[in-house]
């Protein structure tokens, strides 16, 4: 009971610190990195991070083009969300996309573009199983966005044995 309580207080403290940090990073006067060409949400700081996360998250070797497709898929998914949710995802991306967030919260030393798949996977595993629910929520958001971005593309379907029924093709093609 006491250990639980201590853990709860710690989680609460770390949670508030996280939120404060995220709010600071996402403060309105902070100059945010430019959007990529053609994106509505994902910016130049998010893109290398998402590309780096995609490989260990999906358990796949991805070509540069496929990584780009995941990044654009995440963009489409977030851009379709209500503004309040977009703001939360922005906080998450800014937090782990920033140098200090990556180092001290994600515990990944090299820049996202240079981190090894093993280093990135270790981060995912820490957050997936974290005692702090807020970190698990962060992991789950990344999990949902990256999987939706990848498995939403028809090009990913053959490898998992999925195809729309034959007569659907007659309907639409």
């Amino acid at each position: 009971m006491r250990a639980d309580r201590r853990r709860f207080i710690q989680a609460g403290l770390v949670g508030s610190l996280l939120l404060a940090g995220a709010a600071w990073l996402a403060r309105p006067d902070a100059t945010s990195p430019a959007l990529l060409g053609g994106t509505r949400f994902v910016n130049a700081q998010d893109a290398p991070m998402l590309a780096a996360l995609a490989v260990p998250m999906l358990g796949l070797e991805l070509t540069a083009g496929q990584r780009e497709a995941v990044v654009r898929g995440v963009d489409a998914a977030v851009a379709g969300m209500p503004l309040a949710i977009q703001a939360e995802v922005r906080q998450l991306f800014d937090l782990i996309g920033s140098d200090w967030g990556r180092r001290y919260l994600a515990l990944v030393k090299p820049a996202w573009g240079e981190a090894s798949a093993a280093e990135v996977a270790a981060f995912l595993e820490r957050w997936r199983t974290a005692p702090i629910a807020l970190l698990r929520a962060g992991y789950q958001a990344l999990h949902a966005l990256i999987n939706a971005a990848w498995y939403g593309q028809a090009a990913s379907h053959a490898a998992i044995g999925y195809a729309r029924p034959e007569f659907a093709r007659r309907l639409f093609e």
Partner: protein, 531 residues
Amino acid sequence: MTSPIHDTSLEGLARGWRVTDASTLKANQNLECDVVIVGSGAGGGMAAESLARRGLSVVLIEEGGLLGASRFKMVEALAYPELYQESAGRQTADKAITILQGRTVGGSTTVNWTSSFRTPATTLAWWRDAHGLAGLTDAEMAPWFAQVEARLAIDTWAMPPNPNNSVLEKGCAALGLSSARMRRNVKGCWNLGYCGMGCPTNAKQSMLVTTIPAALDAGAHLLTRARAERLLLQGRRVAGVILAALGADGIRPSGQTLTVRAREVVLAAGAIGTPAILLRSGAADASAQTGKRTFLHPVVLSGAVMNEEIRPWQGAPQTVYSDEFLHRWPLAERVGYKLEVPPIHPVLLGTTLTGFGSAHRGQMRQMPNLNVMLALTRDGFHPESTGGQVKLRGDGSPLLDYPLTAPLWDAFRHAWLTMAELQFAAGAQSVLTVHEDAAPARTLAEAHAQLQALPDEVLRARVVSAHVMGGAAMGKDEQSGVVDAHGRHWQYDNLTVVDGSVFPTSIGANPQVSVYAFAARSTDALGKRLA
């Protein structure tokens, strides 16, 4: 080649339906009518047809767009952003539960899975006994169920279940548990399995192809991409509704405002949307229950790899169920659950499966052999399982706070074990409890051992729901409920709620028929009052 299927929406527009896409408006607008209905889903669709056919002038408001069969391409990446609330990623406040709800003309009925159940008699009895709604007898409700079943062609599905559903049937048979075939609201169904992306053949008798076309043919006016912000309250009356037109992206308000003044206001924005409108309006409520006791059927899942290919995305999505554990325990003693299977498609599966990397990928590659079973837990009957609460964010958008209580965790554990037993009994090679701390188990003993050790923690157990109920519940008087047993608001004489938010508990079965029947009954009373 163009599709051989009619697009009932395009055809209706060509016939001269009055439909205004609010995102195209360049100036504020004022409208007047007899009845304004907010939300075009199960409740709103039923109300629109019934009131328009009485010759009343009806304005129907919908936040989403008007689509039709020709836009339903059986592609998840198109369907989720266009047809669902929050791109099918709506979540509870702590992100522990993912909620599927529709956001398009036809509401959730445009994307639902067609399973059709009457309100269980045990639920009606509970509402009479524990909530004082004495008038809601089986005899009172039976004609309303019969009426909506006839309207929506609800009948037993005669085709054999797809192999994904057969796993449940076989498992039940092997273990000596009861199971049964479902009824569905379909006409000439092609057995495709894509109901969740909008039916491409018009077979599903959703509001989009039944009551809404009937209402529009009778002269109703549909406003799409218009979000009801608040009610215009004047003493005991509601003078109308203020709407924000949405922009071309369907998300950001365009800046134009619409004001619809009406003799009667009907709320049918669903069990998160309707309480949110009442809260944003600061509506009076002597019961202080607005937004409270909002229920899901929190769902937990179990995956199984079968020896043979079962292609779980093909064929009518839900056709078999088991109520063995729904009625096993007294309602207030232990949370019961209904067993079904969900349809499985790549995005749903990829996002729902736990874990990441090669383990997750390995399971994805087994998709053709994958069965998934689900347990719908019946919240709202046990004294400690009182559901969630709709609150408002700073920007006025709704947020459902939904703590997972001990009685629900007890039901989850029981259900996970039952599903593993059923899947092994049906011949599964391995079973995966959908929980971050579980791994595929080769035997029931292994699954059992794992289950003992799984922590009852949010964001480790995968919990989802496609059923939202309550938040503006019926009560016997103004102290105990937000609306009366005909959905009429206790504080406002001309305000009626006709969607899933009127239920005092969860339904304990897939809720669409309950919403239809209560909406039909309430709008009939309203229509008679206006006559």
